[in-house]
């Protein structure tokens, strides 16, 4: 019942977000869509994904979309009938294909049991983070690469983005009060990643949220640009250096020996935490 209600609400919010004429309204609906999909991940026993979805997929993307909506004044023109027809046709084709595919899916074990068997050799107690940072750590290296690349890409465009802020003492005080707490809590979430629900991306994105509030109150971080630069690089740099180090030592690329795995993963998580935070913060601001 609960799943049904949440799922329908998710669908309706997606539909409204896509359908509404006003782009601002579709932005608002998109944020609701993000919230609801977070709840749905929880229902599907994927709390890690839920945390990321709520923080990154909904909140940070939502902030970006707010900025986008405010900055763009493009009208939504009506599509040609021909376009509609073939869009409908393609979508319908994929619908048919996927519905047929559904009939072939069986309940099976896949890799799950293998992961749980090897969990004790990974240096982490949380299955998702074991997959993310040890079993498939190479994917995560490239993923950190992707996010670093994206943010430096938008910095390289060298555009002047408008900054939105509200010069209000209440907001200023609140954001100052909140920041140390958020730093602490995001570190805690990062630390939780080693044995429970949490992780570096989640923690970093939370910190980015705190930094955004700080910036919304019209304050600049008391950090030099070069330091922010280095923070943004930290994740990719540390991760690839550690990978290189183990390759040079003869263990093999990104192959942690068992006794060093926990400490390596901790270092990597910390570096990803700080760089994710500053990368997303920069993504929001659009400049250093």
């Amino acid at each position: 019942m609960l799943d049904l209600a949440l799922g329908l609400m998710l669908f309706v919010s997606a539909l409204l977000s896509l359908h509404s004429k006003d782009t601002m309204k579709s932005g608002v609906f998109f944020i609701i869509f993000g919230f609801l999909s977070g709840l749905i991940w929880v229902r599907l026993e994927a709390p890690d994904v839920a945390l990321v979805e709520i923080i990154l997929g909904s909140a940070i993307t939502g902030l970006l979309i707010f900025k986008l909506v405010k900055g763009s004044k493009q009208k939504d023109l009506k599509a040609f009938t021909f376009t509609r027809l073939w869009a409908g046709f393609i979508s319908f084709l994929i619908l048919i294909f996927m519905l047929f595919h559904l009939t072939t899916i069986e309940r099976q074990d896949r890799i799950a049991s293998l992961v749980f068997e090897n969990l004790h050799k990974s240096g982490v107690d949380s299955a998702v983070n074991a997959v993310l940072l040890n079993f498939r750590g190479y994917d995560t290296l490239l993923e950190v690469g992707v996010i670093t690349l994206a943010i430096f890409g938008l910095l390289s465009l060298g555009l002047k983005r408008e900054a939105y802020y509200w010069d209000n003492p209440l907001l200023k005080g609140f954001s100052r009060l909140l920041l140390p707490f958020i730093v602490f809590f995001s570190l805690y979430i990062t630390y939780l990643g080693t044995f429970s629900v949490g992780g570096a991306f989640q923690g970093g994105a939370l910190l980015a949220g705190g930094l955004v509030i700080f910036a919304l109150a019209g304050q600049a971080l008391p950090l030099k640009a070069s330091i922010i630069y280095i923070f943004m690089m930290a994740g990719l740099g540390v991760f690839s250096l550690i990978g290189l180090l183990y390759a040079l030592l003869g263990y093999g690329f990104l192959t942690y020996p068992l006794e060093l795995s926990t400490i390596s993963i901790m270092i990597i998580e910390l570096s990803i935490w700080i760089s994710t935070a500053f990368l997303l913060y920069t993504a929001y601001r659009g400049k250093l």
């Binding site: 019942m1 609960l2 919230f35 923080i55 902030l63």
Partner: protein, 90 residues
Amino acid sequence: MMDLVYGLLLFLLVLNLLLGLVRVFRGPELVDSMMASLLLGTGGTALLLAFFKITKEAYYINLALGFALLAGVVGVAFAIIILGKSKDGI
């Protein structure tokens, strides 16, 4: 017995979300929509806490904390970005 009670509870919370969604849809102005989506944020946090109550899994609290933090950030950002005027500067 407990199942029924919890079911009723979850029903109330989901109804709450549903009403919020209705207001988001109807909201004559954008501000109303955003307010209602904040209600969804609170409602979602409440739902997570209810899950915590039912299952006693500790991670729900962290989720709720994250949810509460970010819902607020989105609300404030909405007020400042969409409703405010823009200036060059910070």
